[in-house]
Amino acid sequence: MSMVDGPTPLHTAKGDQAAENREAVGTPPGSSAAAVRRGWFGGLGEKWQALPRQKQWAFLIIVVILAYLLPIINPPLISTEPGNDFALACQTMAVWALVAVGLNIVIGYAGLLDLGYIAFFAVGSYVTAMLTSSDSTFLKIPYLWTIPVAMAVTMFFGVLLGVPTLRLRGDYLAIVTLGFGEIVRILATIIPAMKGQVGFQNVGHPPGTDASGVPIFANSNGTPWYWLTLTILIIVLLLAGNLERSRVGRNWIAIREDEDAAETMGVPTFKYKVWAFAIGAGVGGLSGALMSGQVGFVNNQKFDVVTSVLFVAAVVLGGAGNKVGAILGGALVAYIPLRFTAIADYKYLIFGLALVLIMIYRAHGLLAARQQLLAYGRNAYAAVRAGADAKAAKTKAEPGTEAAS
C-alpha cells in the first residue's frame, strides 16, 4: 500500500465517458490534460487556480464564516441531533480534521506511511492531562500553556522515532511506526504514573466563566471548543501552506516522488524526512491536547491501532497530499458515525468498503488537487499559459527584472 505511486485509476467505459464529457464542457485554458481525468471534481482544482487571488480570498472568507457559524446554524439535514450534540460533533470533526492535516504532512507530502500516528495524539493528550488533571501528581500549569508543551514533547517524540526508523522505506517503515503506536499505548498501561485504564479526570480547559459562573469551556459545551479548534486549524493550515509553497514542501514532494533522485539533486533527504515526522507529530500532539481538554478525561482505551488506521483512512479518503482533502477526509470519518448512529457499530465495515471503492474508482482520494509548490509561481505559469504572445513579452521584460533583483 504505497502512497507514492498508487495504482492508476482503472479505465472504465463510464470513466472515459465522464472524462470526455468534461472535456466537451471545456476546461480553462492551459489546464493540463492530467487534471481532466482525475474524477468527479477533476476540473475543480484547475478552476480554483484560474480564479484571481481576490476572488479566492473572498470565497475563502465566506467558507470560514460559514464554518464558524456551523454549530449555531445547526442545519437540519446535516445535524447529528438528536443522537449526538451537534456542537460537540463539530468539535470532534475539527479535531479529526486537524489530525488529518498533520498526518497529511507525513503521508501526503513526504510519502512516509505512518501507521502509528495515534502515538503522537496519545502523547499530546497525556501531556495535557498530566499537567492539568487533579489526578496527576505532576506540577500543574494552565491548560493553554500545555498546548505548546504538548507540541514540543510530541515533536521530540517524532524525532526520537524518526531518527532510527527513517532509514527504512515503504512497508518496513509502516510496520515500525505501527509498533511505535502500540508501544505508547502499552507504556500508558504499565507505567503507574500514567494510570492505565483508570486514567485522568478533570483535565484542564481554557479559563473564563459565563454570567452564571459556569466555565465557558465546559466539557459539554461544544461551541467554544469548536471555535478554538477551528481557529487553530486555520492557523495550522496557513502555516502548512507556507511550508508547502517553499523549499521544504518541494523537498518533501521530491522525496515522495523519487528519494534517490532527490538526494542526487542536493536534497538532504534524511533531514527533511525527520522534519516531516517532527512537524506531523507536533500537529498530532496539538490535536491530542485539544481533544483531551474537551473530553476532560484521558485513559489508555482510545489510543488503539484501529483509530490509528482510521487516521490514515481519513487522509487517503480525502486525497493524500492535499490539505483541503485531508480536512474533508478527517471531518467525514468523524462525522459519519456521529450522524448515522444506527450504523455506527458497522463503521469499520463501511469505511473499509468506502476505501476499497475509492481505491478502485478514485485512487487519488476525494479531492485530488495537486499541491502548489512555488510561492510566486502564479505569474510565471500564467505567462507560460498565455501562449506565444505573452512569452515574447515576457522575454522582453525579463532582463529588467533580472537587473532589479
Partner: protein
C-alpha cells in the same frame, strides 16, 4: 563575475540561447582551478560487487572547461563509474577528488552541493511536479531557507522564492522547454523530459555536469540539437562528463574520450586518436569501416 560579461558577449549570436543563463547560473559559482587544470581526479577507482570486479583501478582526470566522453561497450562499467563518483555507490578502493577535495564517503547531497551534478540514464524526474518545480528543486540545493524561515516567510525565503522563478524559467528557456514550464513532468514528451533532467542538474549550479546517456532514444535530428546544447553548456563555463553510446555524438562533441572495457581503462585521448586506436576499435567499434565519423 568578471567572466559573465564575456560570456554574455560570446552567446549573443546563438539563437535560442538565453544569455542571462550564464549569469543567472554562474552567479554563485566559485571555481578554484583555472581553465584547463584538473577539476576532477579519479584515482585508482575500484568497485567490487561481491566477486564481480566492476571497476578495476580506473584513473582519469576531467579538466576544467572540457567535454570528456566516457565510452565503452555495454556492461563496461560506465554507469558504475558514474555512481561511484557521485556517491551512489561507496567505492571499494581509490579516490575521487573535486578540486583536490576527497569525495569518498561524503553524502550524496553534499557531493551535489560540492559541484558534481548528474542526470540519469533512465529518466528520474519528479513526476507529480511541473517542469518549473523540478528545476526549482535543483535550485534549492543552493538555497539556505530553513524550515522556520519558510514557516514564517522570512525575507530570505521570499528573496529565494522570487529569484528561483526567474532562474528556473531562464534555465528552462536555455534547454528550450520554457513553453512547457507548467506541465507536469510525467506528461512531458520524452525529449523534453531528457532536457528537463539537464536543466534540473544545471540548476544545482555544478562545476561538473555528468550526463548519463542523454541521447538515449533520440532520433538523429534530436541528437544534433542535443550536441548543440551540450556545446552551449560548455561554452557557459561548465565542465561536462558525458556517457554515451552513440559514436557520432561522442566523436562530434567531446574534447577527450576515456574508453572502458570490462571495468578497465583501455584508452584516454582526443577523439581523432581514439578513432584510430586498434584496441578501442576491436573492443568497442567492431569493424573499422563503421561510419562513426
Amino acid at each position: 563575475m568578471t567572466e559573465s560579461t564575456e560570456e554574455t558577449g560570446r552567446h549573443a549570436g546563438i539563437p535560442g540561447v538565453d544569455t542571462d543563463v550564464a549569469e543567472a547560473a554562474a552567479a554563485e559559482r566559485d571555481i578554484a582551478v583555472k581553465v584547463g587544470d584538473d577539476l576532477v581526479e579519479v584515482k585508482n577507482l575500484t568497485m567490487k560487487f561481491g566477486g564481480l570486479l566492476a571497476l578495476d583501478n580506473i584513473s582519469f582526470t576531467i579538466k576544467r572547461g572540457e567535454i570528456l566522453g566516457l565510452i565503452g561497450p555495454n556492461g563496461a562499467g560506465k554507469t558504475t563509474c558514474f555512481n561511484a563518483m557521485t556517491g551512489v555507490y561507496k567505492p571499494t578502493g581509490g579516490q575521487v577528488l573535486l578540486e583536490g577535495r576527497v569525495l569518498n564517503g561524503v553524502k550524496q547531497h553534499k557531493i551535489t552541493r560540492a559541484g558534481l551534478a548528474r542526470t540519469f540514464q533512465n529518466i528520474r524526474l519528479f513526476g507529480e511536479m511541473t517542469a518549473l518545480e523540478n528545476v526549482v528543486v535543483g535550485l534549492d540545493a543552493r538555497h539556505k531557507t530553513s524550515v522556520i524561515g519558510a514557516l514564517l516567510r522570512l525575507p530570505r525565503h521570499i528573496r529565494e522564492e522570487k529569484s528561483s522563478i526567474e532562474r528556473g524559467m531562464a534555465l528552462l528557456e536555455f534547454v528550450g522547454i520554457a513553453d512547457q514550464a507548467a506541465t507536469l513532468s510525467r506528461h512531458l514528451p520524452y525529449g523534453s523530459q531528457r532536457r528537463l533532467e539537464i536543466a534540473r542538474a544545471l540548476a544545482t549550479d555544478p562545476k561538473v555536469l555528468c550526463l548519463d546517456e542523454p541521447a538515449a532514444g533520440f532520433n538523429p535530428a534530436e541528437k544534433e540539437e542535443l550536441m548543440q546544447l551540450i556545446r552551449t553548456i560548455r561554452d557557459d563555463g561548465y565542465t561536462v562528463l558525458l556517457i554515451e553510446h552513440d559514436m557520432k555524438l561522442v566523436m562530434g562533441v567531446t574534447d577527450r574520450i576515456v574508453v572502458l572495457e570490462f571495468g578497465k581503462k583501455i584508452a584516454d585521448d582526443v577523439p581523432s586518436v581514439i578513432r584510430e586506436d586498434p584496441k578501442v576499435v576491436s573492443a568497442y567499434l567492431g569493424e573499422p569501416e563503421d561510419d562513426f565519423a
